[in-house]
Subunit: 334 residues, 4 copies
């Protein structure tokens, strides 16, 4: 159910509707928009009567939701969501660039990369502290030590920190040190984790699962929002197909498809989306051209020595060149 | 690294090798076999010298492992693993039948199904207490209440209980009440969960991820074993493809493929593997014919009223008929 | 449109309906069944009025077809089609075994294989004269010379000959020498070829395309039948997925899925469906268990010297063993 | 085998090498480049001795080819191929725009679309005369009548005509009327058709098959070139995956992947590659940004009345807008 307030409804009237919702044992999700406020309702087991709301002061209409989504949809909120990451924005007219190494390996590596990331005008630094690895014997990240290095990078360069959490204790740590919590592809349907980040104060970067349909991905975002965290950025990072010339097949049509349904921002991970260094820049250009709100790019000072995913990392020089190219495209399409 | 003991090596000699391994800060995984004992070594960051082991008493040879796996392989253990689930076996010459409703909905439903499951001679009862659901608004299981009903079923019918855990608190509960912990397809790469069940005393049923390669799946099993739990049963449940006439495409070739590499048992989930009631019995027959160690089948007393996955559940009558058919096939191929 | 005749309609009444259909410039497809005859109508550009037919003598009812298929469906013909291949049957209660080398390489090889194929009681011999090869530089078959060898095999062993045609001149030759025309996976949507075999007197073995949906495959059969050739056997041979442990992923659920919609027989190609010798026998067993009408199996006297697809061919001994195993399963399920 | 001539080799020396090749019963493919001419050799059954060529006048070196390709590769020709379509070019620095309706339905529709296609500065007009349709009962094109309309369009607007052929008689007709022969996705492995267009004087537009790997696609181009037609343009049009929000998943990484291996131009079909009108423009922008040599776009004056594929056609207004957007991107990346 969705309650749409009148354009001139007062805060008091909104609060009144929320009180009624809560008195029914349900949860109210208030979504202010440019022209009107809408209130999504979750928590109902069965059908709620429209009559509870239609005659409340300030209510324009109450609408039954027939789609599987309630909170991610344009039905609830027509304006695109702008996500605030420690003061920097994702989803406004600028191009959000999130770059950095796959994993934080040491202070020196991280700083060398951060300097170049900052240099191209990017606002976000990524770096894995906890790495989900296919093999139990592979390097799995430096953990809290990596997060401490990331804090130094924020202090030194003013970059906002994006880092992945794999479980609830990991979320506790990422919350402590970083500005945005990444949920990786393998965990897109880890509902315990989704609910936990849904209760976080930090915004969430939600990667698409390796074989997730659009609906499954949006419902994963719905899990986060249903807990009250509306600061969600979607990230297309390629899906698994029969094709073998790339690590994953980057599905850029996800961008217009998401735009049709949801107010949430969407960015492109051109590094995992290709898995091959020489493809990252062309696909990053394509990601900007298709209309994404930003890019996630892996950069390494010495890709050939990277402890993880070196094959898909750009060198510092390549990254600077890519940044120039994507900026030029962003300028002409916006 | 893998240390193979002489056929007549004593327990003391095995213990001696284990002590050397642990003194190097590594972990020893002792795998007794019919003819010889082998010891897998994990925990090394780099290469270990073969010389540490080659001249120890009782050692036949030390072998460097070049494959990504160490513990799941036939290299380590040539005899097939027989998993003990509360006294009942999976992986021996009999056909393990794990059946029950998708979710435990209430005591009456569970008992009605269990009676028929017991009636056909099955030894294992499945029933979801914690259901991973694509939508945050769908029925997610009765939780601990469901587990308590499952305990009653074990007491009444002597069936061994298999139930899924989605996170660490869930594992605690499943451990308390059930006989085998299921890790679902969505969690196949939830490494925190895999490590937790790896530290459990209960055997683990590990479903294949929706788009998992054979290697990724076996490495997920390796995660469990690396923590010391060697009682792992693999479960093929279909993979995601372009095909739309089934919910998933059941990949029965996984059975001979796993047999080529691993000593672990493998069973077939013909319910999720098809998603359609009328396909379950033919595919269950095929699963037995291809050589699987068992079947997982969803049964419901009233599929049309099921709170989850009703479309793929067999009725009680259909289940009895299926059991007869698969038994006949198992008899001729074994 | 579909016209169903009364159970006791005379041949004259059927002929009368056909005349009316043809007088409208349309094509009549008469399908006699155990209890009634039905007549499918094709060739209409728009909607035909039911009234043309409803009151004709012998007509029980005229039914508008809303599905994309007209001729392959159970709506038109409830009894399963039994296809006659030079006197031997596919689709009756027996298990049709079509075996032989991928390509006919020489007389000696073909005879060595044929002797064993005959020996296990199979009735059909396959052997490629025209091989579609991914590379223009690979061995593409012996052409007409191969067909002449196949004729000798029919004369010597009484086996019915199944061979693939790639184009219209190829169909002319296969028609001249063989008993059944195979249309391969790559040509499943080669409509010119489908129409040509639809005008042949020989039955057609129609393989599923590498990424064909069920509907596309059945519509390919509809192409053949719309030209008047109703002797079509479907062959599932695996589809392309992300999985890398097999050449193709054998989709055995296609068997019950086809049975739900169509009266046409369906067989399993366990050789292309796996691409690996050691998987052929288990998947052949599974194909029989799932309920297929037959199997297609590649056999070679010396797989390691085969000019094409040696990796998936069974040796003569393996083939004999497989034949025993599948027969045992067929006996218990039929 | 590949023979590389000296930079200053004379035409006579090239002809001399060709004579030796032909005297061995082989075929010579002369590929002049900016700095040197190379000669590919096909037709050998086994290995050819390098010694036949190494000492011939003008020869720099003879190289054994270990890859599956001989003629499509950068090894043979380092300069990108520029394909000449009736005087207009594909593969040079300009963006080739091939636009028009899916099928030619009548003169009026075709002219209305052509006027707008011409208006945006495009040089190529597409329009189906022979349409491969999944159902035998669907509109399959006007055949030769459509081709005659296309000729009128060429005369009136100066647009070069691109049209699909499905079989050898179709190629005869397309050759008679059009400027470029399209081979569709369903026919990518129709080797009889590939060989036929390989013997044509017209350039060939070769679409990627629905589930074709990069290697299979390039080998299909190799089939065409092996017959002597080196004027081949590759066209990525999306591949079949599990994703359901698009008709096909457009694999833009194919562009850098092809560039790494081949000198052939590659364009993007954003219409089939998405199947949805509202996605065509964003994906066309992405296709240009990723570096494709051109675009293929379906345009219709009244998409809602189109006899085929209306859902993916742009309206005339949308097409003009798209053309402006992609030109702006092309300007900044080239």
């Amino acid at each position: 159910m969705l309650v749409v307030m009148n354009a001139n409804a007062t805060e008091g009237e909104v609060a009144g509707v929320v009180r009624v919702i809560e008195s029914l044992g349900l949860r109210a999700h208030v979504m202010p928009g440019a022209n009107r406020t809408a209130i999504g309702i979750t928590g109902n087991k069965g059908v709620i009567s429209l009559q509870h709301f239609e005659n409340l002061p300030g209510v324009a209409e109450a609408i039954r939701v027939t789609k599987p989504y309630k909170l991610i949809t344009l039905d609830l909120k027509q304006e695109r969501t702008i996500v605030d990451v420690g003061g920097a924005k994702i989803g406004n007219s600028s191009l959000a660039m999130i770059a950095g190494p796959c994993a934080i390996e040491n202070r020196k590596q991280a700083f060398a990369v951060a300097e170049v990331v900052k240099g191209v005008g990017a606002k976000f630094f990524r770096g894995g502290a906890f790495k989900p690895r296919t093999s139990p014997y592979a390097f799995a990240g430096l953990g809290e030590d990596a997060l401490k290095i990331l804090v130094e990078i924020r202090e030194r360069f003013g970059l906002k920190i994006v880092s992945e959490a794999l479980d609830e204790p990991g979320v506790d740590l990422v919350e402590k040190y970083a500005d945005m919590i990444q949920v990786g592809a393998r965990n897109m349907q880890n509902y315990t984790l989704l609910r936990r980040v849904g209760r976080s104060k930090l915004p969430v970067l939600l990667k698409r699962g390796m074989a997730a349909t659009l609906e499954e991905w949006l419902l994963a975002a719905e899990y986060v929002m249903a807990e009250g965290n509306y600061q969600v950025v979607l990230c297309e990072r390629g899906v698994r197909t029969f094709a073998q010339h790339t690590r994953n097949t980057l599905d850029l049509a996800a961008v217009p498809a998401v735009r049709r349904i949801s107010h949430l921002p969407i960015i492109i991970d051109a590094s995992h989306g290709t898995g091959k260094n020489y493809m990252v820049t062309p696909l990053a250009r394509a990601g900007v051209a298709v209309g994404a709100d930003g890019l996630m790019i892996e950069v390494h000072c010495k890709p050939e020595e990277a402890l993880s995913d070196g094959a898909q990392a750009l060198t510092l020089d390549e990254f600077e060149q890519m940044a120039r190219e994507v900026r030029a495209i962003h300028d002409v399409i916006s």
